[in-house]
Symmetry: C2
Subunit: 226 residues, 2 copies
DNA sequence: TATTTATTGGAACATCGTTCCAGACATGTC
DNA sequence: GACATGTCTGGAACGATGTTCCAATAAATA
């Protein structure tokens, strides 16, 4: 089709891959807002017009960057174990990818129809089939797991958006949650009793553990469908 | 503090409420991209500077608009029924609000720390407590339900972002899902067996029903925690 | 009435995604 | 080796956006 395989005509030539990798570096190191075509052109020592020769627009760029990251998640990890374990491993793979590249969360949550999400859908779907969930319930089940993952993805991306660049992420996170918890603790007890209770444990809670607990909750619900 | 209650000094004066309501009209009728300070100023027959006197910035405007919508969801619906039913009603309230105002999905999924989300958290949390979930598991449980809702919110917003303005939503949705399904059906069967199976039912599936199935799945999992 | 304060309207600014185009480069043809 | 052709590059220019700035105005106060 349009994608002819072509040998490099120039030394150090521009290519979609090279552009995408530079974009990922900017996104990881300087955050979502720092990825502009001007910054990207500067890093690649070229002009924005040259980039547009290889990339349709910014959506295309972000989708390619996202797929570049998601594709690396081992979609078929842990062959020998149970389907439950594979789903856990898969979900944790996404979680860890989001941890390493928080902007991915915003991207897949903003554009769930892109190929990167389809990869996750396929990976989860196969395990749900292997679990023996009846066919009529499979789509609903996978959709629920996917929604859960995407919801977390969005939250993770939101956290990263608040983050000042080049700071200690763990320390900042704890400080931020502490601030939120303090604010919550001052809410009207009559209207926010549960939130106030959560505020007590909010700064100490482990995101990864909580995520896994959510997956296990859904997996437990799955038992009732068999 | 800074928020003094003040009587209108001019007839037809600008106010945060009036600005927010105008913003919601634009968001609902013309979509997320149509909400600009210029368009808003034109609709209010004023200048952008006047708006900035009442609103800090665009984030503030969107957060206020979102809270305006979420606050209307009956957080304490169906007093007499079981906690499960209340959670379902609550979740469906959010779902229907997202249906009526799809831009809300993007907003709460992009910014989960805003007050609108806290309202949902409190509403769900109380019912989880009423269900008898042990205290140490309550936060994880509510977080899972919230992630699921936020994930769906993001997907809904993404769908609305594709939508041309002033078109029949239901018809467009069906046509769009048909296109996606056709694309999926052509994927390599070896690598995408599950996605290809889903493609068959994708255009006919009911979002609302699927959402409810997800909630029920989590509720079923909850049984195992008691 | 005179003065102060709250509020308005719109011009101006910096920055963004995107388009446009003149030129540089590599390759196929005589 | 010279020329013509299509591929790729670099950067200027365009339109739109969020935001700031400020002179002008209306209400409140003295």
């Amino acid at each position: 089709m349009t994608t002819k395989i072509r040998t490099e005509r120039r030394a150090g030539a521009l290519s979609k891959t090279r552009i995408v990798e530079a974009a990922i570096e900017i996104l990881d190191n300087e955050g979502e807002d720092a990825l502009t075509f001007r910054a990207l052109a500067a890093r690649l020592a070229t002009g924005s017009g040259a980039i547009y020769w290889h990339i349709a627009d910014k959506n295309d760029l972000l989708a390619a960057a996202t797929d570049h990251v998601i594709a690396r998640i081992a979609m078929d990890a842990a062959k020998g174990s149970t389907p439950q374990d594979v789903i856990r491993a898969l979900a944790l793979g996404v979680f860890d990818a989001l941890h390493a590249h928080p902007w991915v969360g915003g991207q897949i949550s903003r554009n769930p129809w892109q190929y990167a999400v389809l990869r996750i859908l396929e990976g989860v779907g196969r395990q749900v089939q292997a679990l023996g969930v009846p066919e009529h319930a499979q789509f609903n089940t996978v959709s629920a797991i996917l929604s859960f993952i995407l919801g977390l993805a969005g939250q993770y991306a939101a956290g990263a958006r608040l983050l000042p660049r080049h700071t200690d992420r763990a320390a900042f996170r704890k400080a931020f949650l502490g601030t939120v918890a303090a604010k919550w603790a001052q809410l009207d007890p009559a209207e926010h009793s549960f939130v106030r209770q959560v505020a007590k444990v909010l700064p100490e809670h482990d995101d990864r553990e909580q995520f896994l607990a959510g997956i296990d909750l859904i997996l437990a619900g799955l038992e009732s469908l068999r």
